[in-house]
Symmetry: C2
Subunit: 195 residues, 2 copies
């Protein structure tokens, strides 16, 4: 039986992402973001939505660049902490012992502890209400070769224990059920049994 609720934000599971910004060390900051996603495959484009009152907001607007850093189970504490503390009060890199690294294209730092860092350049900012949406081009991706499968050359993100965010809770990734397209594969029964 379904209940009607007032309009709300209930799209999950999502990544809990660490977005790094700033073009000088003094300006560097980290903001935790779950309102983020891919909006176009070709060209590769994504968005993050940020409240204008956040400390990172003017930094993002001034530089029009940021890095989306995927997070892992071992980064869960830092991810949560960076979401409830402000860059006004803390140097988040120092407090969480995260290492700012050099991006290839943008001036914002990457977070070295992240398995995958997505360098973004803002194209447009759309004011929606509580949040502004930053629409951005992906200009480079930095991936930790620790998760490259030596045989296939594929980046095995699932082996990095990516952090999953569901309605206020952080979760680990569970067992694999199948891969894109398995429902129409001839030998799908094998894969299906895993589920």
């Amino acid at each position: 039986m379904k209940q009607d609720w007032k309009p709300g934000t209930m799209i999950y599971p999502l990544p809990a992402l660490l977005v790094s910004c700033g073009s000088t060390e003094e300006e560097y900051n980290i903001i935790t973001v779950a309102w983020a996603g891919t909006i176009c495959t070709n060209p590769a484009m994504c968005y993050i939505s940020v409240r204008p009152e956040r400390h990172s907001y003017p930094i993002l607007k001034r530089n029009m660049e940021f890095v989306i850093n995927l997070t892992t189970k071992s980064m869960a504490f830092a991810t949560d902490w960076c979401g409830v503390r402000s860059g006004k009060d803390y140097n988040k890199f120092e407090e969480m012992k995260l290492t700012p690294g050099k991006a290839k294209i943008v001036s914002a730092p990457i977070i070295e502890e992240s398995p995958l860092c997505i360098e973004c350049r803002v194209k447009e900012i759309i004011s929606l209400g509580s949040h502004d949406m930053f629409i951005a081009d992906v200009v480079n991706v930095k991936a930790d070769d620790k998760y490259l499968n030596a045989e296939t050359g594929k980046f095995e993100l699932s082996e990095a224990n990516p952090l999953v965010y569901v309605h206020g809770g952080y979760f680990e990734l569970g067992p694999k059920i199948g891969k894109f397209g398995w429902s129409v594969e001839k030998n799908r029964s094998q894969t299906k049994e895993k589920s």
Copy 2:
């Protein structure tokens, strides 16, 4: 050691969502979407990105309404199948034994098997390249009371076994690590030990 990759779409984990559309039974269709997310909390707004060549695209554009249906482990096969088959060739509701139900506000059907259905009305369509982004207001949410915690009144989405999509693979949700804000709670050591 980090490798530089060409710009690509690597924000994960994401939900694999079933988007239902159409205002008449003949028109009803389902499209699997991972390029989707929340863009604003107040008002509640979200987006889906869809390729113009998809069968659902003109249906979405004509009606300017759709429903985002969250998926679960038990819906994994249907979710994958609806992502690789076309509504040109199949009645997806019938083929996957999914039940179209009545939404409260929009004319598009909900999928009864989904634990949570988000009714959306399109405000704007932005052409980006391979995908068009449909920016929408959330106008109602239908939630299955099976997942309401009788004591707290909270909707326990994690107990619905939500489907997690990571870089081409479908996964179950794993164990809980913590809840939003646990890093600054006084008794955080207890929660922290779970991780």
